[in-house]
Symmetry: C2
Subunit: 535 residues, 2 copies
């Protein structure tokens, strides 16, 4: 149905893959990391070999039958997100949770018709943007009593409908992918500059529903801050908030919808605030002898009133594994950008601040893609494409992220690193790696992002990975962190999310969901645990 087909079992489109030249250094790193000469390579799953039950839904009303698909490719493509846990199951050929139907609405009226129909037949609805979830947000793993699962893929709702040059805002359909959105914005000489790692395969609606965090390390870190209004189709009707730069009229309707992750409706459009294109940039990399010096420097920067667009402290091992630096020291990648004025002086102030904490600017001959920052950026953007090559080799690479106040950071950091290293050893029987970087920083605390690598048993990769993640999540929560800063809750984080959420507010959100989704059909099990027949 989609002109250019997405890979059903991995990141990217069928015409995209990491090249052998590109994979060479990556493979070398893996060999070094695990001290092995080679890996057995499992073949990728194929549509005719995967285990997928027949669709439970076979009859469709006239109005929607042309936009509903039940073929194996579409159902397989919409069976999982893109975490390692998903990848492990896909390489095992386990597609038993495939949705029964994949629908491609061509307009809002189709979305409405699909939701009404699903409600009438008692089917669950899973909203699907780019399918890049790493928390099971789009996985049809549902406990309630439903007639089946209808996944609604917003692929065709991908246009900018209106542009307002005076307020510098755009009215955009929710299904637009990152690159397509930027291409369309470029014709108006503006940009959103919202670059989550999933940028290439995630959508505006997905960003808003899951409160994605993007490009900016400080100020306006979340998509939330760029949303002027939201239009959403709920089972209880269409909700459209007033388009405004700000409002103090009661709790923000948009702030309530943002984070519901499809559990109360499907976002079809939003007005978003965009930016003039960037004219001035400055980028610097600073190294520190000790990790704690880097942490203190970043804390000072975060509380200085300087607001760098990039402020990414990467520990020594992660810098090495990503090929950004030699592994002898942690690096701090700094960046400023402006559409209006030169930012060199702000950069100088920031580097001076780093010096106070023992920071040393890297004297860079290489610029752009080959600079330290550039190297790291390439690894960051290409990372998702390597997943399939790791899974096929039995290498587990997973991440988790949080945010925590500065006073708790050091304890969180050390206990998480220790806990995860121990868990890897205990669970897989051999050492792995755990690394940390800051994705975003606030005056009162950082958002640390952890990555771990290990070699689990080939037959139990997913199970062992999950065992390690459970230990990690418990450690994060115990040290005062949030279960997620920007990966969202999905199905994976629900047990910890429900512990974190104040019980009276949880009950209030459950009541709110029942009002918007009386038949409990919207993304069951996400944000609200209660499901049809389960209560």
């Amino acid at each position: 149905m989609t002109e250019r087909r997405r890979k059903f079992y991995a990141w990217g489109f069928e015409d995209q893959s990491a090249t052998p030249e590109e994979m060479k250094p990556v493979l070398d790193t893996w060999h070094r990391t695990f001290a092995v000469d080679s890996f057995d390579v499992t073949a990728a799953p194929t549509l005719d070999t995967i285990d997928m039950p027949e669709s439970k839904i076979t009859r469709f009303p006239e109005a929607i039958k042309d936009i509903c698909r039940t073929d194996r490719y579409e159902r397989a493509l919409h069976s999982y997100g893109r975490s390692f846990l998903d990848s492990a199951k896909m390489f095992r050929g386990d597609f038993r949770n495939a949705p029964d139907v994949v629908a491609y609405p061509r307009n809002e009226e189709d979305v409405r018709a699909l939701i009404d129909w699903a409600g009438d037949i008692g089917a669950a609805v899973i909203p699907f943007g780019g399918g890049s979830s790493v928390v099971g947000g789009v996985n049809p793993e549902i406990n309630g009593t439903y007639a089946g699962v209808v996944t609604i893929d917003m692929w065709y709702l991908n246009k900018i409908l209106e542009f307002d040059p005076v307020s510098r805002s755009a009215r955009v359909q929710a299904g637009v992918y990152g690159p397509d959105l930027e291409t369309q914005l470029k014709t108006h000489n503006v940009t959103l500059r919202h670059y989550p790692q999933s940028f290439e395969l995630s959508t505006l609606g997905g960003w808003i529903a899951t409160r994605a965090a993007g490009h900016y390390a400080t100020h306006g870190t979340y998509i939330d801050d760029y949303v002027e209004n939201i239009r959403m189709v709920s089972p209880s009707g269409i909700s459209e908030s007033r388009r405004l730069p700000a409002s103090g009229a009661g709790p923000s309707p948009d702030r309530y919808v943002m984070g519901t992750e499809g559990s109360v409706g499907i976002i079809t459009e939003a007005w978003i605030r965009v930016l003039s294109r960037i004219k001035y940039k400055a980028s610097k990399t600073v190294t520190f002898a000790e990790y704690d010096q880097g942490v203190e420097a970043v804390r000072a920067i975060s509380q200085s009133g300087l607001y760098p667009a990039n402020c990414r402290l990467i520990d020594a091992l992660e810098a090495k594994l990503t090929g950004a630096f030699d592994g002898s020291r942690p690096i701090l990648v700094l960046g400023y950008e402006s559409s209006h004025y030169p930012v060199n002086q702000l950069m100088d102030l920031t580097v001076d601040l780093c010096r106070e904490f023992g920071g040393t600017p890297v004297d860079e001959k290489e610029q752009g893609r080959n600079s330290v920052a550039g190297q790291w950026r390439n690894a960051f953007i290409r990372g998702p494409y390597y997943r399939e090559h790791m899974t096929s080799r039995g290498i587990c690479r997973e991440t988790f992220e949080t945010a925590v106040c500065w006073n708790n950071f050091k304890e969180l950091h050390s206990s998480v690193i220790e806990t995860v290293n121990a868990a890897i050893k205990r669970v897989t029987g051999r050492a792995g790696t755990v690394t940390c970087r800051f994705t975003h920083v606030y005056p009162n605390g950082p958002a640390p992002y952890f990555t771990f690598h290990c070699l689990p048993d080939r037959e139990r990769m997913g199970e062992q990975c999950m065992e390690i993640k459970i230990a990690a999540y418990d450690a994060v929560m115990k040290a005062g962190g949030t279960i997620t800063h920007h990966h969202a809750v999905g199905r994976l984080h629900m047990p910890w999310y429900e512990k974190q959420r104040p019980a009276p507010i949880g009950a209030a959100f459950t009541a709110a969901k029942k009002s918007l989704d009386p038949r409990s059909i919207m993304n069951p099990g996400v944000i609200i645990s209660e499901q049809r027949g389960s209560a």
Copy 2:
């Protein structure tokens, strides 16, 4: 009960008043404005002459009887907020809506006991901070069937309970007043710098419950952005969110509570993010020949990536009426501040930008309090103290504010000015004044704040003022503005708020309220229209 007594019928404490010297120029302005030589002065209301029914609640459980007051002073003090509408009724001696009981909890346990007791006897509860509401947020004007009204004054919950110098945050009780909070923060060498006009007589809990906007014209305009967590006593139990710098775990529990205005519970504590004390400041005033030039300059500034702490465009007439400038031109008051680095260059960039739109910096001999900005600031801070002197002279001075995207601003501005001038003429039979300033500016639109003066019939001051406000609110909404940027909803704005709020979200918020406040006792009629017995 309070050591230092607040005036029951006007702004401030009993030991505070505008001095005759201070009033002289103000009175002169009023005489000039309305071309009269003198005003008849109505005497202020006195406790023994006001019309106040007996309290309907006379029996109290042992646990709370010592903190419950039913004397005329306390009931009168808690009968109204501080708008002109309130003032007009107070000067008329109308205290028929006085609360039956005023309770002064000494700790959270008292708050809990009071809410439980009110629920048991079926009384309405009105949370009371500084009582500075200008939208009827604390007025016991209730339609439901209640056994009476219990106002809970948070006066004694006024301490900083914890200070975290590493995250630079403080755990603060909700009842602390602005000046007291800053005094306590100063001992830790930090500041919040949240300065709404109500600063002297409003509380942290009130700011959070109503989403107050403060000092900063850009970036972090709302108190919302400084809140790390909220602890709230609801009829359904105590809710405390996890203290975090940021979180993407579902809809923010705090963003839901902020804006509920006491309708789901009483905020007792919050962790707030504070700032290092300001070391560097720059302030400039720029004038423009035409108002539209000033508007375009501010729009350019708002979209430039420069984020001035102050960016207040004041139209020519308002500048004159406040004694800030001669009335020949609109003025733009600009300010930058930093705890860390000199801000002169940012100011220079901003002034240069103003020049591109015909702006001329005022060459100021006078500095500080006597500068143009200083003059305006004095009038701003002292304004509330003049209210009683205006009401006693039959002068109506009221304000309303909004936020709107830039593309709609000019139409909103002209239609509101025109509508209100016409309404004043029609309703009062003579011309008045309507002026506008920007309190806050965003890249996608400003927050215009309107002030009008008129001379209504002495006998129908409140009614005529309301007639004019209704015309104003309709014009604001028609032109795409919000019913409030930072004055909150209260009881006054409810009809427009309910029009503005998407119906499905309104139903969801109503369901959420029922979950937190099953007996509908919390601030009935605010945010949620449904009341006990009314549905």
